[in-house]
Amino acid sequence: MKKLISKMLVAALSVSMLVGCGSSQKDSVSETVSSESAISKSDGSTLRINIASEPDYLDPALTTTSDGGTLAANSFTGLFVHGKNEKVVPALCKDYKISEDGLTYTFTLKDGLKWSDNSELTAADFEYAWKRAANPKTGVQYAYLFDIFAKDSDGNINVKADGNTLTAVLINSCPYFLELCALSTFYPVPKTAVEAADPGGTNPGAWASEAGFVTNGAYTLQKWNHNESMVYVKNPNFYDAANVKVEKLEFMLSADDTATFSAYNAGNLDFIDSVPTDEISTVDSNVDFKKIDQIGTYYITFNVNADLFKGMSAENAAKMRQALSILIDRGYIIDNIAQTGQELATSFIPTGMSDGNGGEFKSDSYNYPDKESKGYFSKDFDAAEAKNKAVDLLKSIGYKFDENGKLSSETPINIEYTLNVNSGHQSIAEAIQSDWSAIGVNMTIKTEEWQTFGNDRRAGAFTVARDGWNADYSDPVNMLEMFLTSSGNNHAQFGKDPSNPSAPEWNSYDALIKQIYSTPDFAERAKLMHQAEDRLMSTWAVVPLYYYNDIYMCKTNVKGIYKTKNNHIYFMYASVDK
C-alpha cells in the first residue's frame, strides 16, 4: 500500500508539473489486479471505456488522432471495414469490380442504407465525402491519401456516383485501395448537415462538434460532457444493427493514468487502452492484459547534413553511423525500457507489413544482408563483438583509439541526441548513451518540449533524434515515401542539400519511389520496394530499434472487442458474458 500511494503521488506530481500533449503518451500507476476484479460488473447493456481524453474532431475526415479514429470507426462505417483477422471485409459495399488495368473501381452499395436520421444513404454521399476530404480547402490532414486518384478537369478527384454505384478512377494501380476504403478519411458524411452547420465554409467540423449529429455507423453520440464523459447509443439504422449487442458505450475522457487505471481496478471501467509503464511488469501475466503487434517502427534518425559528418565522404559517414548502430543493445532497451515484449527491429519495414502482392513483405524469400535475422544486421548482441566491429569500422575511416579501446583525444566523437520530454524516450536515450560510451563516444541528451522538437526535427536542427512511425495502412510504400526529398517527414534531410558531399546521393531514391507508384505488376513492385529499403538502410541514417506493439486491458467476460494494427478499436461487436 505504501508503495502504491507513493507511486500515485509521484504520478500526480508529474501531472502537476507537466501535462502530456498527445493522447497516446501516458505515464503512471496501478495496483495488482486480482483475478476476480478482472470481471466486468456491467449488466451487458453498457460498456465503460477509456481510450484518451477529449478527441480533436468527431468528423471522420478531420480527426488526426487514433482515439478520434476509434470513435469514428464505431459511429461511422465505410465501403469496407477491418475485420477481426486484420483483413478488410465489405461493409456498405455489396459488390465491387476492378478494371483489367487496375485503375477503375466500381462499387455497388447495399440496398436500403440509411443515415441515423432516416434519410437515405447513397453513393452520392461517398462522392461528396471523398471530394470534400481530398480538397485542400477543407484542411484534412490525411488528404494525401487521395493522391492516388486521377484528377478531373475541374481539379477534383475522379469519383462519380450514380444511384447505388460509385466509380473511382486511380492514377496508378494500387494494391491497398480497398484497405484505404476502410479508413475513417474515406467514410461518408451527411452533406446536408455538414453544409448547414458551416455556411461560410470556414469551420468544416462544426456539424459534428456536439452530441446528436447524424451518423451511419453502429452508434450515435447521445451525450457529451466535455473532458468528462461521452455516451454513445446504438443506431438502429446501422446496416448490421442485428449483430450489435451492447446498447450503450460510455467513454471516460481522461489521459490521467492515476485515474483511468484506478477506475479500471475499481470496476468502473471495462476497457482501458493504456497501462502505466511502471506497472506493466505487475500486470503482464494477468488474464485481462492483452498485447497486439502494430505495423510501426521505433528508430533513431541521423541528420545527414549534420556537422558531425562534415568533411567525410557519403560512404564514410554511412560507415560511422553503422558503427554507432552496431553498438546499440536493442534487446536491453526492449526488456528493460519498452517492456511489452516488442520485436527487435532488424529492418525499417516491420514484420506483419503486407508486400502488396498477397504476401508478407519481411519474409525469407527476400535476400536480406543478414539472412538469419531477416534484416540488415544481426538480432543477437554481444557487447565485446559489437565493440570490435565498431572500432574496426571507425578505424577504417580514420578514427584513432587509445590502448583502452576508447576514441583517442585526437579524433573525438561528440554527439547531441535530441528527444521530446517523455520518460520512456529519455531512458532509451540514456541506454544508447551508455552503449556508445563503450568506445568513448561523448553523447549529450537534449530534451525539448514536443512542439519544439517536432519543428526542429523537421527543419533538420539536430544531429540525431528519436523517431517513430506507425503506418497508416499495410503497405511498405507508406513508410518508404517518407524519405522522398520533398516529404515533410524526411527528418534525415536526404537530398535537401545536394551540394553536401557527406550526404548520400538521393535523386535515385526519389526516382525509385516514383517507379514504385507507377508499377502495375505487384510482384515487380514488391521487389522495387525491397530495393528502396536496401537503399535507405545502406545510409544508416535511419537506425531501427524495435517494432511497435500495443497493449490494452479488457475484462475477461467482455468478448468481441478487437484492435487493428493501425490502432483503431472496434467495440461494436462486443458482448458481456454474465
Binding site: I5, V19, C21, L269, D456
Partner: protein, 303 residues
C-alpha cells in the same frame, strides 16, 4: 469613492490590454504551431488551415483582428478543434466555479469558526488539535490530498466511483479544494483574533460588562476579518478558475486543464481566451477585495 472605482476600472482595462499583448506575442514566439503533428501536414493543407485562422498574416495584424473580434464579443473558435471558445470556456468555467464556490464557502465558514475557537481556547486542547490539523493541511498540496482521497474512498472503501458517466460525484474534489484554504483561513483568523483581543477597546468593552458573544462578534471579529478578506479575494479567483491537478485526478471538465492543455497544443485562440478570462476574473476579484475592505473597516479610505 466613485472616483477611486473609476480609476481602478481604467487601470484594470489597461492591465488586461497589456496582458493580451504579452500573451499574444509570447505564444507566437515559442516554436511550433497548432498544425504540427508527428506526421507532417502537406503544405497545401497547412496553408488552408493557416489562412482559415489568419495565421498567414503579419503578427501585428493578427493581433488587431483578434482584438477587434473580441471587442465585438467574438472569442473565436479553437484552432485545434473548431469548437467555439466562449462556449467551451463558459461551460467549463461553470463547472470550476461550482466546485470552487462550494469549496470556498465551506472553507470560509469552517475556517472562521475554527479560527475563533482556536483563539478563544488558546493553548488548551481544542486549540492544540486545530493547530496540528491546520499545519498538516497547509503543508499538504492538493494533489497529495486528492490522490489520498481517491485511494481511500474509491479504491479501498469503494464508496464513490472513480468515474461514472451517469452521476459524477463532486464530493471528493470539493474536499480536496477546500481543505487548504480552510486551514489557512483558520490560522489567519486565529492570529488576527488574538491580536485584536489584546487591543484596548476590547478590554474596555469587556470591562464595561458587554456580553462575551457581543465582544467577539461586534468588536473583535469584524476587525479580525480584514486579513481574511485580503486572502479570500485572490483565493476565490484562483479556486473558481479551476485546478489542473484536481480536475485531472477526478476527471472533471473544468477550466484549469483547458488552460494548460491549450499551451502544449499551441491552440492559440484557446490560450488567448483562457488567459484573458483568468486575467479579467483576477482583476475583478482584486477590485472587489479593495471595496470590501471599506465596507468591513470604516477606517480605510479609498482615495
Amino acid at each position: 469613492m466613485n472616483n477611486y472605482v473609476i480609476k481602478r476600472i481604467g487601470l484594470a482595462i489597461l492591465t488586461i490590454v497589456i496582458i493580451s499583448i504579452i500573451t499574444f506575442f509570447g505564444m507566437n514566439a515559442i516554436p511550433g504551431g497548432p498544425f504540427d503533428s508527428e506526421k507532417a501536414t502537406s503544405p497545401e493543407v497547412k496553408a488552408t488551415l493557416e489562412k482559415r485562422y489568419n495565421l498567414d498574416k503579419p503578427i501585428v495584424q493578427q493581433y488587431g483582428i483578434y482584438m477587434k473580434n473580441l471587442l465585438h464579443g467574438d472569442w473565436g473558435v479553437s484552432v485545434k478543434t473548431g469548437r467555439d471558445i466562449w462556449d467551451t470556456m463558459s461551460k467549463s468555467f461553470m463547472i470550476s466555479a461550482k466546485l470552487g464556490g462550494i469549496a470556498i464557502i465551506i472553507s470560509f465558514i469552517l475556517g472562521i469558526i475554527l479560527g475563533c475557537l482556536s483563539a478563544l481556547t488558546r493553548n488548551k486542547l481544542p486549540d492544540r488539535l486545530i493547530v496540528f490539523f491546520t499545519t498538516l493541511m497547509t503543508a499538504m498540496p492538493s494533489f497529495v490530498l486528492a490522490t489520498l482521497l481517491l485511494y481511500l474512498f474509491c479504491i479501498q472503501l469503494g464508496w464513490v466511483a472513480v468515474w461514472s458517466a451517469k452521476s459524477h460525484s463532486y464530493i471528493l474534489p470539493v474536499i480536496s479544494l477546500a481543505l487548504y484554504p480552510m486551514a489557512y483561513i483558520t490560522r489567519l483568523t486565529k492570529t488576527s483574533m488574538l491580536d485584536v483581543l489584546g487591543q484596548d477597546y476590547v478590554r474596555t468593552a469587556k470591562a464595561k460588562g458587554v456580553a462575551q458573544w457581543k465582544v467577539i462578534y461586534k468588536h473583535t471579529l469584524r476587525n479580525a476579518l480584514i486579513p481574511v478578506i485580503t486572502y479570500l479575494g485572490t483565493q476565490i479567483a484562483y479556486i473558481i478558475t479551476g485546478s489542473l491537478v484536481v480536475e485531472n485526478i477526478f476527471t472533471i471538465g473544468g477550466l484549469g486543464q483547458k488552460f494548460v492543455n491549450s499551451i502544449t497544443n499551441r491552440d492559440y485562440t484557446m490560450i488567448m481566451g483562457t488567459t484573458l478570462f483568468l486575467a479579467i476574473i483576477l482583476v475583478i476579484a482584486n477590485l472587489i477585495t479593495d471595496i470590501a475592505y471599506k465596507i468591513v473597516d470604516a477606517r480605510i479610505t479609498l482615495e
